[in-house]
């Protein structure tokens, strides 16, 4: 039987068996492990390294949550999901949260009954083509064969874009990024389209990345962020504020190197003190201990460190901060205050 039918049946079965226990936090604590849904492998965002250890920008979020809740950044069970299986996995309780290049949309938030806790990467959909094709704009793609991952916002944007521009295309549906890469490189499709960050990450793994370009048009808004099931607000708060802690840490200059010093005793910045638990009881409000944010930041560094280490300009993926710079630097990354 086909995988998704099977997964669907599994969801049905697990819905039947009673999966939607409200207190995810208790479940995670009892289990001693955080189940985190990630991609099946997108270098820079979430992929196992040579030793089988999951690494990446999205993985960093999972580890920060695990560190905050369980005190151990390695107490994470990474569950690879495809674009199509991810929501089933989350809804059925197979994972506690998703950190998987997932776009925040109204229907996912409202109709699919999820809660997006924030945005960790502002993105948009682009097209990857090989240079020798001589295409300079996405509007020149009339009649092209396009590889797309099914079950994504990508395929819906693509249909809208070609319709709006009154040009035709031939979609080739694929399940995973790896499949898309294989088909694209073999020339079974003229262009591969997905989030521009995903394209950059995919291109970085090519033998000759310079032979391929991402076309200038960005045809959609893709705010990517972690999400949890709707209805368990306590758990949603924990994931939301863990992400905010990483973002605020960068803004406030808290890094994995100076955090030991900053958290040893209350300093002269009250917000740092509140966040790191040397003052006030923010941790307690969340149902965690006072050191939760300290551990989250120590897990892989603040937002800026995670970005630089996994997808930043010094990595092969070489993404500029752009929209994802702190608001003070002209970007959109902004955390509400810790108080």
């Amino acid at each position: 039987m086909k995988k998704s039918v099977f997964l669907g049946a599994l969801t049905v079965a697990s819905i039947a068996a009673g999966a939607s226990a409200a207190a995810t936090l208790d479940d995670v604590k009892a289990r001693g492990k955080l189940n985190c849904g990630v991609t099946t492998g997108l270098v820079g965002f979430a992929a196992p390294d040579a030793n089988g250890k999951w690494e990446g920008f999205d993985v960093g979020v999972c580890r920060a949550v695990a560190a905050a809740v369980l005190g151990d950044a390695n107490a994470v069970e990474f569950v690879p999901t495809t674009g199509k299986t991810r929501f089933t996995a989350l809804a059925s309780g197979e994972v506690d949260m998703l950190a998987r290049n997932t776009t925040w949309t109204l229907s996912r938030d409202v109709d699919l009954k999820f809660d997006f806790v924030g945005v960790n990467y502002y993105d948009g959909q682009g097209f990857l083509v090989s240079k020798e094709m001589g295409v300079s704009s996405a509007k020149d793609l009339d009649g092209a064969t396009v590889c797309i991952q099914t079950g994504t916002t990508t395929e819906l944007n693509l249909a809208d874009f070609f319709r709006a521009n009154n040009i035709s295309y031939e979609p080739v549906p694929i399940e995973t990024n790896a499949e898309g890469q294989q088909q694209y490189l073999a020339g079974a499709c003229d262009t591969y389209t997905t989030d521009a960050s995903g394209l950059a990450a995919t291109r970085a793994t090519f033998e000759d990345p310079s032979a391929h370009v991402v076309l200038p048009e960005i045809i959609s808004k893709e705010p990517l962020g972690p999400l949890v099931r709707h209805g368990d607000n306590e758990w949603g708060d924990i994931v939301r504020w863990t992400l905010n802690a990483l973002i605020s840490a960068e803004e406030l200059g808290i890094t994995s190197t100076n955090i030991g010093e900053l958290s040893a005793a209350p300093g002269d910045n009250p917000e740092i003190n509140r966040m790191l638990g040397t003052e006030g009881n923010l941790g307690e409000m969340l149902g965690l201990d006072a050191d939760w944010a300290k551990r989250a930041i120590m897990a892989g560094g603040n937002y800026g460190e995670l970005f630089a280490k996994n997808i930043g300009e010094s990595t092969p993926i070489a993404l500029a901060r752009g929209l994802n710079a702190q608001w003070k630097d002209g970007g959109l990354i902004y955390s509400p205050p810790f108080r």
């Binding site: 669907g8 009673g18 064969t145 979609p171 080739v172 549906p173 399940e175 088909q183 020339g187």
Partner: protein, 420 residues
């Protein structure tokens, strides 16, 4: 002296439900039934409760919302603004297409290989055995993916046709590329047009009047041809001489057909390289080819064994008797052995057709948009309606399977030994 009395009619005691063999099986069955119903009730109420907790009331309204996604292989006209219902219909037609093509190809392969495996020629029978064992013992998913990989990696890209690295075959009419095979399509320059059925609803479709006209002429031709044969039989019966009629019988079928084709202005539309891809012609996508080939080769291996078993089940005396009458071996096979073997072959053949149809749901592995890929894939994912889509999907496969069984059972009735 003893008299035979009725069995003792003692009064009924509760313990008899368990200890009396007359009641025991009833008791067990009723207890099992109650248990089953309770389990079912628990599952249903629990599902409803949990869905309510999630805030998801079961509802099929999403089927009438716009689907929003495109489908590459569509047998009817469809665009992304159509409903999920219509997208599912496209998927269903794709499922049926590959299932029908697959069943036909698998039957042909199976019969040929099954007969060859019994060949006295050592090499031929060994080769057939290698085929059967090779395909039967490797999961069909691997064959599907493997064939797809070969198609993608070894065939030329459309671009190669422009630079001259690849050329079209069959007098410039067929293009074999790594995106599929483009073949000429039949077109009519003086077409009669289409009739639109079901207006603008999700189930609308067009019927080509050209096709109807051609079908009508063909059927009329065949009926006339049958009439001529009847006449010839009657003449032969009466006079002992059979009039030469084959040219008439061929003529009444072919000539009117060609005339109508001419009136409609029949011509072939050839695929042409334009822009990124070939345009025009019929595009057999490599997802369809890979799935079709893999399913028919895989199921063909099972059918070959069924055919071999069916042939071996016909007594050797039949072959010897046919030989004694002077029939050549291939006529013995087609006139004496196969018709009798069919009776043994049909029932297991049905279950193989059913398997093929259900295995076609592996289609998404190569991106073939069957019903599992549309309704059970993209629609399920985009709407988050797991329960509803999976239920619908199960109903659809159930309906297809029951239909195949019904048709094949009817056929089986008609070939099975008539006892008089």
């Amino acid at each position: 002296m003893t008299t035979i009395t009725d069995p003792h009619q003692g009064q009924f005691r509760l313990s008899m439900l368990l200890y009396d063999s007359r009641y025991r099986s009833m008791t067990i069955q009723i207890v099992a039934l109650i248990g089953f119903l309770m389990l079912l009730g628990w599952l249903l109420s629990n599902t409803a409760q949990n869905l309510a907790d999630l805030g998801k009331e079961p509802s099929f309204r999403f089927m009438f919302e716009p689907a929003g996604y495109d489908i590459n292989q569509r047998l009817l006209e469809y665009d992304s603004q159509d409903t999920h219902l219509r997208a599912s219909l496209m998927g269903l037609l794709n499922t049926l297409l590959v299932a029908v093509l697959g069943c036909i190809a698998a039957t042909i392969i199976g019969v040929v290989i099954g007969v060859l495996r019994l060949s006295p020629n050592w090499i031929i029978s060994r080769l057939s055995a290698v085929y059967v064992e090779g395909f039967r013992n490797v999961p069909v998913l691997l064959w599907i993916v493997f064939i797809m990989a070969i198609l993608i990696e070894t065939l030329p890209q459309p671009r190669a046709f422009r630079s001259g690295d690849a050329t079209m075959s069959f007098w410039e009419s067929v293009a074999v590329t790594n995106r599929g095979v483009y073949i000429p399509e039949p077109l009519f320059s003086r077409s009669l047009g289409d009739v639109h059925v079901f207006g603008a609803s999700s189930l609308r479709f067009d019927v080509s009047l050209d096709l109807l006209a051609l079908l009508a002429v063909l059927i009329a031709g065949i009926l006339t041809s049958v009439l001529i044969k009847r006449r010839a039989d009657a003449t032969q019966e009466a006079t002992g001489v059979r009039p030469r009629t084959w040219h008439w019988r061929l003529g009444v079928v072919v000539v009117p057909f060609l005339v109508v084709m001419g009136i409609l202005g029949f011509y072939l539309g050839y695929p042409e390289l334009k822009g990124f891809n070939f345009r025009g012609g019929t595009h057999l996508r490599n997802s369809l080819i890979a799935l079709w080939l893999a399913l028919s080769l895989y199921t063909g291996a099972f059918i070959a064994e069924i055919v071999r078993a069916g042939i071996l089940a016909v007594s050797k005396g039949q072959t010897e008797a046919a030989g004694a009458l002077g029939l050549r071996p291939n006529r013995t096979m087609s006139l004496v052995i196969l018709p009798q073997a069919l009776r043994v072959i049909i029932p297991p053949l049905i279950s193989n057709y059913l398997n093929l149809t259900k295995n076609s749901s592996l289609a998404i592995a190569v991106g073939y948009m069957d019903i599992t890929g549309t309704l059970g894939g993209i629609t399920m994912n985009q709407t988050g309606r797991e329960l509803e889509t999976v239920l619908l999907l199960m109903l659809v496969y159930l309906a297809i399977s029951l239909t195949i069984s019904a048709v094949m059972n009817w056929y089986n009735e008609s070939v099975k030994l008539k006892e008089r």
